[in-house]
């Protein structure tokens, strides 16, 4: 029988203000999920060990935590797989990142639910309800298929670098739900949603680190949803905010010069704030750290244009 050492993050607010780590030894069969392992520790070794859980079959999204630093659903993760991946008999178990621990592996998800609510995660149809249901063609539903698989486990927030940097960033799962409704043919609020989602701390604040895509246990690909919401903003003409201007500056720069002109990117993105950065820009120029403000054209500009056209037509 395999033996595993579970090195668990402990935080018992009733007895101590300081968190600590505790190693548990567990003998078990070959098939054992991380959640089973933790529940066995709870039953057999320490009744105070706490983890939020419910369905045990990766549909309720309660038991997200970290196994060796990666956010996973504990019920979906085989202990033996983790050991094999890290070539070690010890598995470090931690609560999700970016949230305050309440007790052991249980974190405070209130900020997560606030963000979720802020995107109006429900259908807002137009006019009075029809006599029967609103029929949606299969193809239209398939566009939002991935996003509608989200189970709100918050694993993406645990991994989100933008959320770490800005606690007010609306974040991956909430935007996945945003697209789930902005992309729904029955929804009447596409433009309003585009405005709501591209404000401060909105879609353009994502750093594109892709961790949400990588760690989402249900394959929702929240980063892709955020990208699609950028597309919705452009399609709805919501392009005056800094984020959209920034994206537009990239486009114009590529179309006219064939490569990114970083010196022009800043004033285009933020024409009011940019002059304040002028001394800094001059200093960078003097040290050869900034490209020339005079637009540069690459020789094969036509090829770039053809590529851009191709991409536009494909999407």
């Amino acid at each position: 029988m395999p033996t595993t050492t579970l090195d668990v993050f402990r935080y018992q607010p009733d007895t101590s203000e300081t968190a600590y780590r505790q190693a548990f030894e567990l003998e078990h069969g070959d098939d054992l999920t991380l959640l089973d392992a933790i529940l066995r520790l709870q039953n057999e070794q320490d009744g105070t060990l706490a983890i939020r859980y419910s369905c045990r079959s990766s549909i309720c999204g309660s038991c997200a935590c970290k196994a060796n630093g990666k956010t996973v659903l504990a019920c979906m993760t085989q202990v033996e797989d983790v050991k094999r991946e890290y070539e070690s008999d010890t598995v470090a178990v931690d609560p999700m990142g970016n949230f305050a621990p309440l007790k052991d592996l249980i974190v405070d998800l209130d900020p997560f639910w606030e963000k979720f609510k802020s995107v109006k995660p429900y259908l807002i149809p137009d006019g009075p309800p029809p006599e029967r249901e609103r029929i949606v063609p299969k193809e239209a539903m398939q566009k939002i298929y991935k996003e509608s698989r989200c189970i709100l486990c918050a694993a993406c927030y645990s991994e989100c670098n933008s959320f770490t940097a800005d606690p007010e960033f609306v974040g991956p799962a909430a935007f996945a739900w945003g697209y789930r409704f902005a992309g729904d043919v029955r929804d009447s609020q596409r433009k309003q949603r585009a405005k709501l989602y591209s404000g401060d701390h909105g879609v353009w604040d994502c750093t594109r680190c892709m961790y949400c895509n990588e760690r989402c246990p249900k394959g929702v690909d929240p980063r892709d949803a955020i990208e699609k919401l950028g597309g919705v903003a452009f399609a709805e003409g919501v392009t005056r905010d800094k984020g959209a201007r920034h994206a537009k500056a990239f486009l114009i720069s590529m179309r006219t010069g064939g490569k990114l002109n970083e010196t022009l990117l800043v004033p285009f993105t933020d024409p009011i704030g940019a002059p304040l950065d002028t001394p800094f820009a001059l200093q960078m120029l003097r040290h050869g750290k900034a490209p020339s403000p005079i637009p540069h054209r690459i020789k094969k500009l036509n090829e770039v244009k053809a590529l851009m056209k191709n991409v536009k037509e494909t999407i």
């Binding site: 607010p13 009733d14 007895t15 709870q42 009744g47 105070t48 309440l102 249980i106």
Partner: protein
């Protein structure tokens, strides 16, 4: 309960299960909650739930011992026949003085009267 009070059951197994549940309920009276904290005390929740489970187990097994026939998911291997003469009635169970008291009530007959299902 999994082993002895499944769909297919016999009187002797049910009596054994009944004795086990009674013993466990007795034991439960001295149960200890290991977590003494006030935050997310899952140990306390599990302990309370175990008590309810034992009450429910006793209810099930007591009713099953008495019902000397087979009906639907209650399939007695020692009474394989359905007995409409004696057993068209609901079992009612009351927990009184820490014991199950059984009572029965009549079945309201509607358009579709219960009958033997033979496929």
């Amino acid at each position: 309960m999994q082993e002895k009070v499944g769909v297919f059951r016999t009187g002797s197994e049910l009596s054994e299960a009944q004795a086990t549940v009674e013993r466990l309920r007795e034991k439960y009276k001295s149960v200890v909650v290991t977590d003494k904290g006030r935050t997310f005390n899952q140990s306390l929740i599990h302990t309370i739930e175990t008590g309810y489970l034992l009450d429910l187990a006793l209810t099930m097994v007591t009713g099953a011992v008495e019902r000397t026939e087979s009906r639907g998911a209650h399939s007695r291997l020692d009474y394989t026949e359905r007995d409409d003469e004696n057993w068209i009635k609901h079992t009612l169970a009351y927990l009184e003085d820490d014991q199950i008291r059984l009572d029965y009530s009549e079945v309201t007959m509607t358009k579709y009267e219960p009958q033997v299902r033979s496929y």
